[in-house]
Every structure is written in structure tokens, then in C-alpha cells.
Subunit: 205 residues, 2 copies
């Protein structure tokens, strides 16, 4: 497309790099940003800059945080013996929203994906191993690692690698349950999910 | 949702104000901006600021422009007697993409919408009237105004108002054709479109 101005073209190019945004949506957004009060548009740019340059990560779990140690890690109400390993901050938010988990987290910052060139060294895996070994000399050692990874090829690869690394420390390793989603229709479930959910069926007690 | 950091919360709030973006997509974008190279993220913010603060509008047609008079208005290859009135810069791009139109444009900068509090005075309507009257004293007067407005309630209201204002100048007023879209299935066309397309049927010549 021939944009009428270099300035709008540059803005569209940059906006279109955001995930899930194509050129058409980017154009729509750029025109919206132009039409809106200047101060609101500048506020968006400022918020992005502030977030990118000032944000910190929890030194223990690597989740996004405003402080050295995040609110979850610092909380005395959480069970420090339980650590759920997740891919990114979004997963922490998703699990926190369920209000069903009272343990801590460990944010890997990605997932092992040879195709995208992400190996174990790019993730916070050594930090997890350190967390486990350090905790074993304290009053409240980590006793269970929950692998909260997506049931995809990459998730399974990462889970396999983590299991191999963590096993030597004698810590219990679990994974979030896979099966038919609540409210999901059996008839539409894919074969692998349905097959696995029969094999790992739950006993009524 | 309880975001782990005020900085990310502010960024998400601002991103979610963009059209078509909800809180979930905003979170996804914010995490993407955090993960990406800092210089790329800052470039997005800079492009937005530059666009908002430095962009200019063509003094004749009010389309986005880098110069006082835009490329289309300045071109000697375009028919200056033909002016297509559109809602915004997006419509100019859409029509230009068809390569079917060789006239000029007039960008209203919106559409009459009493519900959203947009009246004729908020649009570049006086400027259009001036353009018509001024052109009548030149060698190349405007002879036809094409109303390139959406066939919606607001578009029709704007078209009706414009017709009333332009008629006294004896300029031909036309509108882009309404009918069944090319490739569209007759069976799925709505009644109003189908009805109108029968009433204003085209004669094979």
C-alpha cells in the first residue's frame, strides 16, 4: 500500500510487528492514535517506554515485579515447598486467576524450541536447580515441582528435560492434569486428548 | 486481574484503549514488548510520538500528508474536476488501491453522527464548499462530487446533508454504487441490498 505519509508508514510498520496485528489493523490503530487527543496518544508511548526501561523481575521466581522479590514470593501465606514451573508471566496470571493454587512459581521465560533456537541455556533452568538445592539446606525445602507447561511438542520437550534435571534431587515432580476441558463436548475432543484421558482416568473416591 | 507490576498494568491499560484490543491481547502485546529487544520496543514508542506530533494534513483535501499539499492534490495527472468525498484517510487508501479512480479527494475527518455528538461543524464541510466555490472562478472548476460514504445510517445522513449544501452550486452529485458485492452470493445478500440492487439495476449496453 502507498501510505500518504512517511510518518504514518513508520508507525504502521512498528505497530504491525505486535503479535496478532496485521497491516490493516495497524492502519486502523494509527488513524485512531492520530484522531485521539494528543495527550492520550503520548501517554501510550510513555507507558510503553516506562514499562520496557523500568520493569524489574523477581530475583527468585523471575516473574514481572515492581520489587526485588515479587509479592507472591514474599508472601508468608503461600506454601514455599510447592513450586509451579511455567513458561511466562501470562501463565502465572492465568493460574492466579483460578484462586486454586497457594504455592510459588518459577517463570522460565520461554520454552525449549529447537526450531526457534531456544535451548535450555536461554531459560531460567539453572536458577530453578539452584532454588531447589539452596532450599534443601533450609527449614522449608521445596518438596514438589509442578510442571505447568502447555501440552505441546515444546512443552513436552521442556518437561522431559526438566524431569531429567530435577529427579536427582529426590523432589516430587507432577504436571497439571490433561483431559477433557470442563464444559467440553466429548464428541469434539481430539483423539489424543480423549485417549490419554481414558488411560489416566480418575478414580471416584 | 491482579497484574504483578504497576508498570505493566499501566501499559496494558493504555494498549487496551486501541480499537479492537481487549485486556487479554493487550497483555500478550505487553509481554511481547518486554521480551523483544529494548531498541525495537523504544522504536515503536518513538514512531507513535513522531507520527502524532509531526504529522500534517493536506491543506486542500485534508488527507494525511508530509507536505502542505498532498501528492494526490499536487499531481497534474489527476482530474481536478472530480472530487470524491470520504470519511477518513483509510477510505482514500482503499480507493487508491483499486487503481480505478483518477480524481481528487476530500477527507471529511468523520461522519455526521448525532449519537456520538459529531455534527456538520466538526467535519471539513465548509472547506469542501469553499473548494467548490473557489474552483468555479478557475479554468478547471469542480464539475462532479462523488459521495464515497459508507451505506450506513450515518453515511446516508451525511450524504443527505452534503447534497443539500452542494446542490445550489449546480455541481453534479453522484454516489458510489450500492449492490451485491462481486463474488457475493445472491442467496446470502440482505434484503435491503438485494431490493435496492433490483430497483437500481444496470442496463447492459
Amino acid at each position: 500500500m502507498n501510505y500518504p505519509s512517511k510518518l504514518i508508514e513508520q508507525a504502521i510498520d512498528e505497530i504491525a510487528k505486535l503479535p496478532g496485528i496485521g497491516k490493516k489493523s495497524a492502519l486502523r490503530m494509527a488513524l485512531h492514535l492520530l484522531k485521539r487527543d494528543e495527550k492520550h496518544t503520548l501517554k501510550l508511548a510513555e507507558a510503553i517506554v516506562a514499562m520496557r526501561t523500568q520493569i524489574r523481575y523477581c530475583e527468585q521466581c523471575h516473574n514481572i515485579s515492581d520489587t526485588e522479590i515479587c509479592g507472591i514470593c514474599a508472601s508468608k501465606k503461600r506454601e514455599a515447598s510447592l513450586v509451579c514451573v511455567v513458561e511466562d508471566a501470562r501463565d502465572v496470571l492465568a493460574i492466579e486467576n483460578t484462586s486454586q493454587y497457594r504455592g510459588l512459581y518459577h517463570v522460565l521465560g520461554g520454552i525449549i524450541s529447537p526450531l526457534e533456537g531456544v535451548g535450555p541455556a536461554d531459560l531460567k533452568i539453572e536458577s530453578l536447580i539452584n532454588r531447589i538445592t539452596t532450599s534443601q539446606n533450609t527449614e522449608n525445602p521445596i518438596t514438589e515441582i509442578i510442571l505447568g507447561l502447555s501440552p505441546t511438542m515444546e512443552g513436552d520437550t521442556t518437561a522431559f528435560y526438566l524431569t531429567k534435571r530435577i529427579k536427582p534431587f529426590g523432589v516430587k515432580i507432577t504436571t497439571i492434569a490433561r483431559g477433557i476441558p470442563i464444559g467440553g463436548d466429548l464428541e469434539y475432543a481430539d483423539e489424543i486428548t480423549l485417549g490419554r484421558s481414558i488411560v489416566s482416568r480418575i478414580v471416584y473416591e
